[in-house]
């Protein structure tokens, strides 16, 4: 009985094999090894090379075990661009009929046991395979004769994306979630049509710099052979989820990407592409990618009238984090066209249309209504024509100006830029910037003129001073993070002059910027200085020399300052209030002494010379007075002269810098005693 059953099965198998051979699409090698008919009854068939459009199965081995069950081993299976090796299937009941070979309850042991069914309709030559790894997940494949060769259809219903993660390129972030539904159709003549939709998809890399969550994306792809290439069209729509691609964070807003082009063995070409980004605008692009060299060999992109505010918030801001442009209010529109060649960026044209930007919370700067064209070329000298209607600098109004920026590759020059500021101007000349290896190096000269001191000091929140600000900026260089001023910076203030030499600014944009300089002030009008700082009126002129000035975070940490009456003949008067305040520099006492004495009846005193020095180091100020008038018990700050005259002495040689500043603020009692002559 058993023998008869086995004979029937062997005959059915032979029939099926004959059908496959007749189909002509398969090469068949039958080795039909009939096992000895004993207790382990088994038939092993070896088939070879099952091929169709985008599909091939090689070295197929069927082993019939008892009870209608069979084991199938496939040496190599290729579907589309993916290949698998040594696939083993187990079939509980392999039906071998004249017109049909079928396995309804098979298992693919691939880590987990995946339920599988397949059937082959021998007359229609249609092979259908279905995998059902989960109750709500089906992967179906159908291979059938088409107009030209065999056609292949792959249908996914609730397909888990992690199943394809193993074939994902290892240098891309790993797929960690998601479901795919849709159909991929390969036709024997080389045409491909795919419609897929991904839902709840996710990806991430190990370091957390690139990740996507809950992504919903629908895709459509059509391709057809054209000469030696493939002509293709693709559409993508992003309808759900979020992506973080350091430093960008993007949320789905129904962004749509459509592209068409050609693909051959050496190149992937996008002939026409467009990205529609709701809220920002449309970008059209094209490009060429060299598959062998793995690089873009040419590309161009253009976008028209993009709103700057949306572009800044969604795209630019994350790249500017930590810079002075990280918190802006922006407005206007910008159009741009970019061309890339084999050697990188070749051409950028930017058209600015009423662009405004404003430092939103700190109000350090603002530019309003910037218009013009910036035509940059990698290997050609060009000139930008940009106009600015107005702006603000440290809350001071800036007038209209033009920026005639010269460009030549990574070299930028500005012959002259004159910016109206308050009632004067500042001018930058011979500005030149070059891209260094790590950062930009630049230099310029210039001057500041015609700005009323009262206006600029009021605007900067400083004590209001009189006069006109004029300054000459010698060569200023910025190399790495250091600004260096070659030559002397010259300012005219308080009817005198200030000369700053050896000025160096280190780490200017850090938390602890450092400034080093030597400063010489000459012939400052004491009347203007004292009225500016509400110090109590003094008349006369002073020179001040600050050697080795060092500021950290704009606070002095080291200097050697000497203040002395200027040489020459001029009225020298000092008010009672000024005496009190000067006294405060030396310590407690003088104010009380003056008030107790009859001198309180005098508003003003005469003096001959005044002098004060402070050598600051480690938070301590080592003080002295008029040079050459050192006394054993103290030092002379104001040497009396005329009638009524007053001499102010200081006794404290050392004082903490902070304490000195506090004293200046408080003007308290001290041990400075006025001596009436």
């Amino acid at each position: 009985m058993a023998c008869a059953r086995l004979a029937r099965k062997a005959s059915a198998a032979k029939g099926a094999i004959n059908v496959i051979r007749a189909a002509g699409a398969f090469a068949l090698l039958v080795m039909g090894m009939l096992a000895p008919l004993g207790r382990t009854q088994q038939i092993t068939l070896i088939l070879d090379d099952l091929t169709g459009a985008a599909f091939s199965a090689q070295s197929i081995k069927l082993a019939f075990v008892g009870g209608g069950a069979a084991a199938i081993d496939i040496g190599a299976l290729t579907v589309g661009a993916q290949s698998w090796k040594h696939i083993h299937l187990e079939c509980k009941q392999l039906a071998l009929e004249r017109a049909r070979i079928a396995c309804d309850e098979g298992v693919l042991p691939a880590g987990e046991k995946i339920p599988l069914s397949f059937s082959y309709a021998t007359d229609q030559r249609v092979l259908s395979v279905a995998l059902k790894p989960a109750p709500d997940e089906t992967w179906q494949m159908q291979l059938r004769p088409g107009r030209q060769g065999n056609d292949l259809t792959i249908r996914m219903d609730g397909g888990r994306l992690q199943r394809v993660a193993a074939w994902w390129p290892p240098d891309l972030p790993k797929i960690n979630a998601g479901v795919v539904d849709g159909v991929i159709e390969y036709e024997g003549d080389g045409r491909i049509a795919a419609k897929l939709s991904l839902s709840n998809a996710g990806f991430a890399d190990a370091v957390g710099l690139h990740a996507g969550e809950k992504l919903g994306i629908s895709m459509a792809l059509q391709a057809e052979p054209d000469a030696q290439a493939l002509r293709w069209r693709a559409q993508l729509a992003w309808s759900a989820g979020e992506v973080f691609w350091q430093p960008l964070y993007l949320k789905s807003a129904n962004q749509q990407l459509s592209m068409e082009g050609r693909l051959d063995a050496a190149h992937l070409r996008v002939a026409r592409g467009s990205l529609r980004y709701p809220g920002i605008g449309d970008v059209t692009f094209s490009g060429d990618y060299d598959l062998g060299a793995k690089k873009v060999t040419g590309a161009q992109a253009s976008a028209q009238a993009i709103p700057v505010a949306a572009l800044y918030e969604s795209v630019l801001k994350p790249f500017l984090d930590g810079s002075t442009l990280s918190d802006l209010r922006t407005d206007g529109r910008v159009s741009a066209e970019v061309h890339l060649g084999v050697d990188g960026l070749q051409r950028v044209d930017v058209q600015l249309d009423n662009v405004s930007l404003e430092d939103k919370t700190q109000h350090r700067f603002a530019l309003f209504n910037v218009n013009g064209l910036v035509p940059w070329r990698a290997r050609e000298a060009t000139q930008a024509a940009v106009t600015v209607k107005g702006g603000e600098l440290l809350k001071m109004p800036v007038g209209a100006f033009a920026v005639p920026l010269g460009m030549n590759g990574m070299r930028f020059d500005l012959k002259q830029l004159r910016v109206p500021l308050l009632d004067g101007y500042f001018e930058i000349r011979d500005f030149a910037a070059r891209a260094g290896t790590a950062n930009w190096n630049w230099q310029f000269t210039g001057d500041v003129g015609g700005i009323s001191m009262d206006k600029i000091t009021a605007a900067l929140g400083l004590p209001v001073m009189q006069g006109t600000l004029a300054a000459t900026l010698p060569m200023v260089r910025h190399i790495r993070s250091t600004f260096r001023v070659d030559g002397a910076l010259f300012l005219k203030v308080f009817n005198g002059s200030i000369e700053v030499k050896n000025l160096v600014l280190l780490d200017l944009f850090s938390k602890a910027p450092r400034v080093q300089a030597d400063v010489a002030m000459r012939n400052l009008d004491l009347g203007l200085v004292t009225s500016a700082f509400s110090f109590g009126n003094m008349t006369g002129r002073v020179d001040a020399r600050i050697a080795g000035l060092e500021l950290v975070n704009w606070q002095p940490v080291k200097f050697d300052v000497r203040v002395a009456s200027s040489a020459g003949d001029y009225p020298r008067k000092i008010s009672q209030a000024a005496v009190q305040n000067i006294s405060a520099l030396g310590g407690a006492g003088a104010a009380a002494a003056i008030q107790r004495s009859f001198l309180r009846f005098f508003e003003q005193f005469g003096y001959d010379r005044l002098g004060w020095s402070c050598k600051l180091q480690n938070g301590l100020c080592e003080m002295g007075g008029v040079e050459g008038m050192e006394a054993a018990q103290g030092y002379v700050i104001v040497k009396g002269g005329g009638i009524p005259a007053i001499t102010v002495m200081g006794y404290n040689r050392q004082v903490s810098w902070q304490e000195l500043l506090d004293r200046l603020k408080r003007v308290t009692q001290g041990n400075v005693k006025p001596i009436v002559e």
Partner: protein, 140 residues
């Protein structure tokens, strides 16, 4: 031969002296620069502390902070957290440099960084993550 021994002894003595010199560094030195950086770090600490506690951010061996567990930070906050980490590391580098400068020994910056690296870990709260000597993340 004798010359060689003498040279080696000198080298050992010099290295010992260098170590001794660094040991004298005043790590508590207060300058306007140190104060400005510490102020900035203190302001940021309020934002970093919950990230240390959740294990998203940990303390590295070399006196920096790093994103340890990206999954603990929602995508929308990822850029901000990376920004916080970058700003913190920038401040820490500036602090080590400033303390070295204030000690008038800019060349001590590396030693100061290492000392601080250990100090931050010692002062970390229980539950925070730090890199151990082998570079592996460890929960305190």
């Amino acid at each position: 031969m004798k010359n060689w021994i003498m040279k080696t002894l000198w080298l050992i003595a010099a290295l010992f002296a260098a170590g001794q010199a660094f040991a004298q560094a005043n790590l508590e030195i207060n300058t306007p620069g140190v104060a400005a950086i510490q102020g900035s770090m203190q302001k940021r600490h309020g934002e970093l502390a919950p990230l240390y506690a959740s294990g998203a951010v940990g303390l590295t061996r070399d006196g920096n902070v790093a994103l340890r567990d990206p999954a603990a930070v929602p995508l929308a906050q990822r850029a901000a957290v990376n920004g916080l980490i970058a700003a913190e590391n920038q401040d820490r580098a500036a602090l080590y440099r400033e303390i070295a400068r204030a000690n008038s020994h800019p060349e001590w910056e590396g030693d100061i960084r290492n000392t601080f690296g250990q100090r931050w870990i010692d002062r970390a709260q229980a539950g925070w993550y730090y890199q151990n000597a082998a570079g592996a993340w460890t929960r305190k």
